[in-house]
Amino acid sequence: MYTIHTPEGTRDRLFAECRERRQVQRALTALFARRGYAEVSTPEVEFYDLFLQSGSPLPQESMLKIIDRSGKIMVMRPDCTTPIARVAATKLKTLPLPQRLFYDQTVFRSGQAHKGGSSEIAQCGVELMGAAGQKADLEVVALAVDALRACGVEDYHVELGHVGFFRDLAGRVDMPATVIEQMRLLIEGKNFAALNDLLEPYAGQGACKALRRLSRLFGGADVLDEAEALSGGSAALVYLRQLYNALSKAGYGDHIRFDLGMVHQIDYYTGVVFRGYVEGAGDAVLSGGRYDNLTEAFGRAAPATGFAVDVDAVAGCLPEEGAAGLETLVHYKADALDRALAAVDAAPAGTVELSPCESVEETVALAKEKGARAVLVLEDGIERRVDL
């Protein structure tokens, strides 16, 4: 006895879901290739140690594990960046930097049961390995905006933050490390009230004013002004403003916003971080940032930045388009195969199909059952159309 349903978190995707997923993948991979990124593909199964030793920010309970015959712990690829950093630092180590790499593959996560989340997530993304500084960040952020546009969604924006701003402020207050971590969690969760309470005892310290506001510092470029006024300035803010000016000048300004309270995975990211939002999706659909310390774990230190797009989340926001329905069945004698195929190939995809039936009557019956509107009969050199 075997079970005929799919495991929790996995699903069969039929027709429109596949079409929309493919549409997003095509748009993204074409864009990435046009910008000089080359595709790489990594194994679906990797050693657990790879993610452990490189300091991956993923919690171990979210990785799907397998034990191989020798007793080694393997995981189903839980993220794309770590394996690609491994490739860049090993197989590609003799190539000159920077390397522009893109991927179109699935990551696996063991999510919480019955939350409606998927444990197979199709991701398309890029990694720009071996380039530091403003131009590298500009290139990748602009690509993130272009990526959302290319997908065909209507209302979208990319939000920038910088882990340096939080680190700078936290470094200015005299506070135990445990409180700093508590504060970080409250800022990340935008827990306005609890953050205020936590910081009450430190209210006398200069940077506190900015930290108390940090979870609210998101929105348009004016949040940079507010952050500057509150903090008395910070290198991270100067950097974000330079990015913003350059992006605005290139016409990206309308799709750029800021969230200075983006303080997730603070030990992993080392600079600019960003997320993309699309009207219709309940969470960010694009996520990325600078991670300069990752590849060092694999023997070749290289500054890097990149992002991943959650393909199905974006596909879910596309305006619904019905597929072309079947219109005509082609009934043909075996010697008219060439003409029959020509008729199928000439029509829009999915509108004309070959009939496998032996008699015209059977074909007509089949055409009616499938909802086609006509049968094209090709036999003995003649061609006639039967409208239903």
Partner: protein
């Protein structure tokens, strides 16, 4: 402000308090108080519509973004985990999680593995993990007080308001686990996509909360 936000309210005790808060904020709550057969209640004088749901569903609706905002107890948030913004402590619906045992028993006076009954197994587990204690946790759906009485469990972790239910069943709270109250939660994407509308709603809430304190 043309966009209409949608808020999910926890049914029951928190619902009445939430309506009280909304009315104090100047929102016309007549459609919520007299729902008829409708399930979605549009506020006539503010771009907001409300749906009523069981507390855990409030979190689900907000996490999936079908509701932009939600009002839910911290007890439910602690039990369900979270991927949303928890922006405000609304100050009402205050109570506490407590560890309660049969009156007169010494819960900590043995090395035997203790068995804990709770409607909130995750809260109970986190509490004992922090203490470094191994316990067996049993999920109970209904009256948790019954479990120690029937000797199914040595203790319970449950919401305590006045303690009278515990007392009537011969149980006594021996330790606070944590305090809880109603929270305003926001979907992470809505917060960004409808910032102006959500800011307006939050600041109205804050003004009223400030007035109350």
């Amino acid at each position: 402000m043309s966009e209409r936000l949608r808020i999910a309210l926890s049914k029951g005790r928190l619902q009445d308090k939430a309506v009280e808060l909304f009315e104090a904020m100047g929102l016309d709550c007549a459609p919520i108080k007299d729902p008829g057969r409708r399930l979605v209640h549009a506020i006539p004088n503010y771009p907001l519509e409300a749906v009523l749901a069981k507390a855990p569903d409030v979190i689900t609706y907000v996490e999936h973004g079908v509701c932009d905002l939600g009002i839910v107890g911290k007890d439910t948030i602690l039990e369900q985990g979270k991927s949303f913004y928890e922006v405000l402590d609304l100050g009402f619906g205050r109570c506490r999680f407590a560890l309660a045992v049969k009156e007169g028993t010494n819960f900590y006076g043995t090395y035997k593995t203790r068995r804990i009954a709770s409607k909130y197994p995750n809260v109970a587990r986190a509490f004992f993990e922090k203490k470094g204690m191994d316990v067996d946790i049993i999920k109970i759906e209904g009256s948790v007080e019954l479990a120690p009485i029937l000797d199914l469990a040595d203790a319970i972790v449950d919401i305590v308001e006045t303690g009278s239910t515990l007392k009537a069943n011969g149980l006594a709270p021996i330790e606070d686990v944590c305090r809880v109250s109603a929270r305003l939660i926001v979907n992470t994407a809505s917060m960004k996509l409808h910032k102006a509308a959500i800011d307006d709603f939050i600041s109205r809430c804050e003004r009223e909360l400030e007035r109350r304190s």
